[in-house]
């Protein structure tokens, strides 16, 4: 039955995260971008929401892709990197929780139930121009004792802090995912590699050189997994984050353009500005409902591939437009690092070309 109604619990969680995002997280965003690191106090704040740990809950009902989408939007209003700091372990855990074998769930999920921030990430992207999620080059070949993994993954968020990676690789002509402990032989986490945006995430390359894996490392073990579902979840999470950044831009430029006087009138009273603000509102609304729809299908166990693709494609276009216009509306001030809009411009271009690495 078509409904846009949040449950009382969802409303409560949304309101709590919204408050925290604006009071505790937003003020720390610029500094984290400058230092290319997220302070542990911020990671602990994010952890305190319980959003990550709930993925590790034995009770399946505790996990909600829809709620995660709602909360990632709120976190991203504060900062996209911070939101991804939550979405990375969520992506890892939700893959384990929905597609892992009983043993995998039993071994891994409890590790993330503690009261300190802990990270793990899906590793899909590869440092290759023209990378596409449908053309993975990392390989896992069957050996006598399991699998041998080889390849390089790029743009792994908080790579230096991850205890595990879920590595997507070609195996016998199909895509599979492998749970890889970062401390085993052949795994090298590279230096952080600054990018145009999401700098606080200190994304790095992780290389896998003839890494020997047990059969138990394969997600779903003998049954394998549906890698597309991991991608669908990632696209949905990225969409949620783009809604958040778009809202950040919109909520920043509205008061700015109302206050800024040009030729005797508030900038917001110019039709071209006002209409663009209206379009920002139209598009953030549309992005949100599309993201909720994809998340809701994921939550109900359905095939969300089409919806996730549409949500991600649309959000990528619109969020980039919104961030670009946000910079424009501030004029020269939008180009200075004194204001957050230029950071949102960089972050949005970054989020909108990532695929994978996180999840709802």
């Amino acid at each position: 039955m078509i409904s846009f109604e949040l449950t009382d619990e969802q409303k409560l969680a949304q309101s709590m995260v919204r408050d925290m995002a604006l009071t505790a997280l937003r003020p720390a965003a610029r500094d984290a971008d400058d230092r290319e690191a997220i302070p542990s106090s911020i990671l602990d704040e994010i952890w305190s929401t319980g959003i990550v740990q709930s993925q590790a809950d034995a009770d399946q009902g505790a996990r909600s892709a829809t709620l995660n989408a709602i909360l990632l939007e709120e976190l991203a209003v504060a900062d996209a990197s911070f939101a991804i700091a939550a979405a990375a372990p969520i992506g890892f855990l939700s893959a384990i929780a929905t597609q892992g074998s009983p043993a995998q769930k039993k071994n891994l999920l409890p590790l993330f139930a503690g009261d300190k921030y802990r990270c793990a990430a899906v590793a899909i992207m590869e440092p290759d121009f023209g990378f596409d999620v449908s053309t993975i080059r990392t390989t896992a070949t069957k050996t006598r004792d399991g699998y041998r993994l080889s390849g390089i993954k790029g743009l792994v968020p908080l790579a230096g802090q991850c205890s595990h990676f879920l590595v997507v690789a070609q195996c016998d002509g199909a895509s599979e995912a492998f749970i890889v402990d970062r401390d085993i032989r052949g795994v090298t986490v590279g230096e952080k590699k600054p990018n145009v945006g999401l700098r606080a995430l200190a994304m790095a390359t992780v290389s896998f050189k003839d890494v020997d894996l047990k059969p138990a490392a394969r997600l779903g073990e003998g049954a394998g997994c549906d890698v597309q579902r991991i991608v669908d979840s990632a696209r949905t999470a990225l969409s949620a984050i783009m809604i958040g950044t778009s809202r950040a831009v919109m909520e920043f430029v509205m008061p700015y353009t109302k206050e800024r006087v040009v030729h005797g009138d508030a900038l917001a009273k110019k039709q071209t500005i006002a209409f663009r603000l209206a379009d920002m509102r139209i598009e953030t609304d549309a992005m949100r409902w599309m993201t909720w729809k994809a998340a809701s299908i994921l939550e109900q166990g359905g095939d969300a591939t089409r919806q996730a693709q549409l949500a991600y494609t649309y959000a990528g276009e619109q969020a980039m437009w919104i961030a670009d216009e946000g910079v424009q509306m501030l004029g020269g001030h939008g180009y200075l690092r004194d204001n957050p809009v230029e950071m949102w411009y960089r972050d949005t271009r970054t989020v909108s070309v990532l695929e994978g690495a996180i999840g709802v």
């Binding site: 039955m1 078509i2 409904s3 846009f4 109604e5 949040l6 449950t7 969802q10 829809t66 023209g130 990378f131 596409d132 999620v133 449908s134 053309t135 597309q228 991608v231 509205m254 109302k258 917001a268 009273k269 039709q271 006002a274 209409f275 603000l277 209206a278 379009d279 509102r281 139209i282 598009e283 609304d285 549309a286 992005m287 409902w289 599309m290 909720w292 729809k293 809701s296 299908i297 109900q300 591939t305 089409r306 919806q307 996730a308 693709q309 549409l310 949500a311 494609t313 649309y314 276009e317 695929e355």
Partner: protein, 380 residues
């Protein structure tokens, strides 16, 4: 709980609406070519079929709700391009229902009443309305003079609800509405307008020349209550736009399939052909707009009167129909231009929704004023 699945009851009604739309589509080209002919009140094929609009309005147990369902039925109808049942409800009926006295309502409740607002020099701008009613003390009648243009249901309606300036016996002036029945001397309905598309859509100009009506026909809607009928209609227009847009998408998908072009949603930008990438982006525009329509209708259903949401749905639907119909022709290339296929009609029909019942620009003004806390004077 957030959910986007249709219920079994929804699907039943919508399947029936879609079947009727398939029948409607067979007639669509004929009425596109014969714009002077009114469609019948009911097509022969419809005689034994339920009217899905009526079913949706009446409410169906187990459905997502009558407002949502009604908009989706409308979408299906516009997918076909022609309704098998001509609507007996006009926007003038909404004014009658809202502001008429019980006696007035009783008299005209079964009439189809068109709404007559727009004038040659005045679209959404009341300051330019020139139609004027003066009161004749001797006969106790109102005398209306003026011209109304782009009036929907002009020919098929039984009466028109006319927004007019008035000069009252006491000399006071203002804006009000009068119900003028067909056949009233001095009230002339012009010929069907020659339009780019939606040619089966009954649209004429109305002329009032010393048209006399009794005081009882004074319905006393003011400008605001009259314009507010569009609050309800906005997301519906969004749904209509999306019906045409989906017809274009469906046709394109069908032709792609015939040519072996597969639309995969799995890979990303770098794995796709140009036409598939664009098609996916057009689908996304459709989906985006559809969800804003559903959101607005869902709010109505929660008895939360939508504010900006109705305008968002209209603006998004209108834009979607422009982009999608233009885009599908481009994707399919020269052959798509031909009248042998429905796409040229979709292209023409789809251009109206961002224009009528408040152009996209008007919707953006409404949205901007609302989110910025501006009045109509601040931002215009």
């Amino acid at each position: 709980m957030i959910d986007f699945e249709l219920t079994t009851a929804d699907e039943k009604i919508l399947n029936s609406a879609h079947e009727q739309a398939i029948i409607g589509r067979r007639y669509a080209r004929y009425y596109d070519k014969h714009e002077d002919e009114l469609t019948p009140a009911e097509f022969p094929e419809a005689a034994n079929l339920p009217n899905p609009t009526r079913l949706a309005e009446e409410g169906v147990s187990g459905s997502s709700g009558s407002r949502i369902l009604h908009s989706l039925v409308m979408l299906e109808t516009y997918w076909g391009g022609l309704a098998l049942h001509r609507s007996k409800w006009g926007l003038g009926n909404t004014v009658l229902k809202t502001v008429a006295t019980p006696e007035q309502f009783e008299k005209w409740k079964n009439h189809t009443i068109a709404i007559a607002i727009t004038e040659p020099g005045a679209g959404s701008d009341p300051a330019n309305i020139r139609t004027t009613a003066t009161f004749d003390r001797e006969t106790g009648e109102w005398v209306i003079n003026g011209e109304k243009i782009f009036i929907s249901q002009a020919q098929s309606a039984d009466a028109a609800m006319v927004l007019s300036r008035f000069i009252a016996p006491d000399g006071s002036r203002g804006m009000t509405t009068f119900l003028v029945e067909k056949g009233t001397p001095g009230f002339t309905v012009g010929p069907q307008l020659k339009k780019l598309g939606i040619r089966s859509h009954d649209t004429c100009n109305l002329l009032f020349e010393n048209c006399r009506i009794p005081e009882f026909n004074h319905i006393k809607g003011d400008f605001k209550s009259t314009m507010s009928v569009f609050n309800d209609s906005r997301p519906m227009v969004g749904a209509m736009a999306l019906g045409v847009a989906r017809a274009a998408l469906d046709f394109t998908r069908e032709k792609f399939a015939e040519r072996g072009i597969e639309i995969s949603y799995r890979g990303g930008l770098r794995s796709r052909s140009a036409v598939v990438d664009r098609f996916i982006r057009l689908e996304a525009i459709y989906e985006a707009a559809l969800l804003t329509v559903l959101r607005s209708k869902w709010l109505e259903q929660q008895d939360v009167p939508p504010k900006v949401e109705a305008s968002i749905a209209k603006a998004a639907g209108g834009k979607a129909a422009r982009k999608i119909t233009q885009g599908c022709v481009e994707l399919l290339g020269p052959e798509a231009l031909s009248e042998d296929h429905p796409l040229d009609r979709c292209f023409r029909d789809g251009r109206i929704f961002d224009i009528y019942e408040g152009a996209g620009e008007i919707q953006r003004l409404i949205i901007a004023r609302s989110i910025l806390g501006y009045t109509g004077r601040d931002l215009r």
